[in-house]
């Protein structure tokens, strides 16, 4: 049975259900309680679960993220909410030096089942310190799992899966997705962590993307389709582990690759995807791979400038043309 709800509500529902079914689950972060969450995800949860399990934290990202990690090591299933990816850098020591390494450097003795959620991405005119898409940067870190739900169903499913995962999972929620409405079937069997989804089938080009760029890519694919170019659209869903198999299968099918990512190109996840395709399927390529990413500037405030920075449907369509033009 499915319902139409928002991305925000889907995450909230997933938190509620996890907290009801598992006493080890709790939520902590800046303004998650009384304020209701800076993106209103946790609205009402304080009333429902009380301040012991919906914990407002001071502005101490390293302190409370580390506390989440410590609690996870000591048997809990914490959900740590960091207001935005830029703030998470204040907690990098804990995430990278502790969460990502603990299992390995303890020789398998201490796993860290923490879930860290944060908002990511631009488009809200929030300027250079609240708009960057840096999930790809986190995907560099071995020991972490990096999830990027685009759909309402994934927003719901991924939180549940992340809480069941024995290792640290970072979930990146694009700030512009919270109001998106979509179908949620709570009974649906979730797609496992690490599996990509082919959201649209096509034979001519493959668009590899994730998060909010999925919707721009799907829109571009429809435009391309009217011109006779059938794009396959892959929603990566998980940047680490990355589903090489689904990517490579599509490369073998279309031989033409376009990557759409709101991150920057240099050293970004788009570069990583290209590198993998190069390593695993070089001889399947029939055209130079293309990328549509954010322009390499810190995010500007002015609306028109910010929009010029971000990947847009027209840019994706143009890149699709470029892929096909040499035929």
């Amino acid at each position: 049975m499915s319902e139409i709800i928002t991305y925000r509500e889907a995450i909230r529902a997933a938190i509620q259900e996890a907290m009801k079914s598992d006493e080890r689950v709790f939520l902590m972060g800046e303004d998650v309680g009384r304020y209701g969450g800076s993106y209103a995800v946790s609205m009402g949860l304080l009333e429902q679960f009380g301040s012991e399990r919906i914990i407002d934290t001071p502005l101490s990202e390293s302190g409370f993220t580390g506390a989440g990690i410590g609690a996870a090591i000591n048997g809990m299933r914490p959900i740590v909410e960091i207001m935005t990816v830029n703030f998470s850098f204040l907690a990098l020591d804990q995430i990278i030096n502790n969460a990502a390494t603990m299992l390995y450097m303890s020789g398998g003795q201490f796993n860290v089942p923490v879930v860290i959620r944060m908002a990511t991405g631009g488009g809200n005119q929030l300027g250079s310190q609240h708009s960057h898409s840096l999930e790809g940067w986190y995907a560099h870190i071995t020991g972490l799992k990096i999830l990027t739900p685009a759909t309402v169903q994934d927003a719901y499913d991924m939180l549940g899966l992340a809480l069941k995962d024995p290792d640290p999972v970072l979930i990146f929620e694009h700030a512009l997705l919270y109001n998106n409405k979509g179908e949620l079937d709570k009974q649906a069997v979730p797609i496992p962590i690490g599996k990509a989804s082919v959201r649209r089938m096509g034979k001519d080009i493959t668009i590899i993307t994730y998060g909010i760029s999925l919707f721009k890519s799907l829109e571009a694919a429809e435009i391309l389709s009217k011109e006779g170019i059938e794009a396959e659209v892959i929603d990566l869903r998980s940047l680490r582990p990355m589903d090489d198999e689904t990517i490579i299968n599509s490369v073998r099918k279309t031989h033409r690759i376009l990557i759409v990512d709101e991150g920057w190109k240099s050293g970004g996840i788009s570069a990583e995807i290209m590198a993998r395709i190069n390593e695993l399927a070089f001889y399947e390529l029939d055209a130079p791979m293309q990328r549509v990413c954010s322009v390499e500037v810190p995010f500007p405030y002015a609306h028109h400038l910010e929009q010029a920075v971000l990947p847009q449907v027209e840019k994706i369509v143009a890149a699709g043309h470029k892929l096909m033009e040499e035929l």
Binding site: G66, I73, N74, P78, Q94, M105, F110, T142
Partner: protein
Amino acid sequence: MQIDIKQARSYYRQMLLIRRFEEKCMELYGYELIRGFLHLYIGEEAIAVGVMDAADAADAVITTYRDHGQALARGIEPKAIMAELFGKLEGCSRGRGGSMHLFDAKTRFYGGIAIVAGGLPIALGMALADKMMKRDRVTICFFGEGAVAEGEFHESLNLAVLWKLPVLFVCENNLYAMGTALECSESEQNIAKKASAYNISATQVDGMDVFAVAKSAKDAIAQIKKNNSPVFIECLTYRFRAHSMFDAELYRDKAEVENWKQKDPLIVLKKKLEATASGSQLGEDELEKEIALVIEEAVEFAKNGTLESVADLEKFVYSPKVQQ
């Protein structure tokens, strides 16, 4: 002052074990049997031994890269530690951690965190979990005075008090953060005083006196349990050896080192016993012999240990897959 000779002998034995173990490590480092960084605890043994005496088996311990002393005092087998230093599979971290990252689930020893102050937030979380699950446990968190300069120290002290977490913060103030003297880095050099700004119960204790440390730690743990709030102990101590193996110690006077050596915790303990006419009951020679055997056995064990197969290199980056 009444001294329990059995207790004193036990302290002495543990401190001597740490001392002789690390001296052996130095020797083996010279033979290249131990590599990487090797930070010795020599001079600071009274802190680990005293605090561990106060700790319960159910409590958790988290410490820094200078962790041999805590690990030995906590009861991790010397041979498992030595094997770890040798990079062997039989090591307490399977040879994955090395000197700075000793871990042991059996004794609830959570490392071995080599980022200064990085262990403090973890300790908060461990204590938070215990509190939420209503488990009567304490998390003991060791760190050096260098950590005081880090933001994580301040965030953690604040949160621990704010959330009333059962954490025992043990600051091992050996006066030097690597080569930087406390007076070169802190505006307020009395760490306990600084900590008390967070409204935490904080005291200074002579870190060279195992009895003093043990008493202070016992009191602290009792207080934590009674008041449901953290306690801070600053142990004044000194490391007799270099920061790590490759250190010319240009930042401090030899005379200063020699001066502190007069307060060697082993000597301090012996003097206390002698003052109470129980010195002869310590059985020092006997302990030396016994410990020499333990260390010899540990080295043999480590030498004969297994090198983990490179095929398992990627094991434990993530948890092994479990059947759902």
